[in-house]
Amino acid sequence: MPRSCAYEVPVDTGLFTPLHLQPTAACRLAFNAAGRWLSLYAISHRRLVAEHQTGFVVWSVQLSSGDPVGYFDADCLDVVVTGRVRGGGTQFECDVEVRGPVGRATRLRACCVPLRLDGGSALAGAPARLSPEVMSAFLADEIERRPHLSPLPALRAVITGCGAELAQGRTPFVIHRHQCEVADQWFWPEAVSLACSGREELVRAEADRVPRLRLAMQTPLGRLDLLFSRPFYLFDEGAVVSTAYEWEGRLAFVHELVGTEGGVDEPRAVAIEQFAPAPEPTWN
């Protein structure tokens, strides 16, 4: 049976919106949980980088919101995390549940890609397999032969193809150091923050014309899908191109995070938000 790790996280007010967990906070909790699992059962991420010259970058994320939980519901949140490798050691995947005192947990799956680091202190790297030594730390049922496949491309195709476009907006940004991790590369949960900013700017700009958009401020996020293609770095300029759709009775936002230097939009990541009711992602 795959090993899991369960623990409590004391709440603070920054983890929540008035409606639920902050999606960015859920992603940060999940990434920290994955690091805890790795450290407990395989190897710490720090040692993986320092001793095996291997790092992880997040490639694909699905978040499914559970029953709303708020700051005043409990002193602690319960976190449960499991980890496994997939695709012959070309991916590390974690499943994380975050729950309040009652109700369904918020679930997050993140698929990371190992990178062989060869950039000195810049921590630059290229995709690689985990070494046999690292692989040996995983139990047989923590090794899945099939690779993770992101559901996002198919989801985007059906939303943009079948949904009714309600509004579109563009929110420029510049990446600053507080949004980055140790190597001056954006910390991936920042993609969620930027997508949320894009959505809220769209609501601010268009809600008088399209009142339905206000639902995105009045109900908790139901589901979030993320797919990364290239990271942003310190002082990179970019924009969130957010498009709102009415699709199968729910409000959906497709956010394209693009680099804008050189006058051409260069895709870096896509985030799709769906507001309740939304079905759970397919956990392939």
């Binding site: 970058v57 490639w59 000195g120 630059a124 190597a183 001056d184 590369q185 991936w188 293609s229 050189g262």
Partner: protein, 88 residues
């Protein structure tokens, strides 16, 4: 040539993103750049003095293979240094 440095390398260039370098080829430009910003040398080049595989070099938007770094570059040309990394 004008060399544009990506954000992960800025701390090695005193946070200058765009640096003018006077050199006849891209390779010579990179060598001159790392002479001016010494901490960048170990990051950009391996022990044999070759550009590490984790970095991609573009000349006027076109990616250069390692054997094309001797390409000539003048004042009006731009060279981009990007990290060869995928994912988040």
């Amino acid at each position: 040539m004008m060399i544009r440095v990506n954000g992960a390398l800025l701390r090695f260039t005193e946070y200058r993103r765009v640096i003018d370098v006077d050199a006849p080829t891209v390779e010579a430009g990179l060598v001159k750049l790392t002479g001016e910003y010494q901490p960048l040398r170990k990051v950009l080049f391996d022990r044999e003095g070759k550009v590490r595989a984790t970095h991609k070099v573009f000349l006027n938007g076109d990616q250069l293979e390692p054997d094309q770094l001797a390409s000539r570059a003048g004042d009006a040309d731009s060279v981009d240094l990007l990290l060869a990394i995928s994912g988040g």
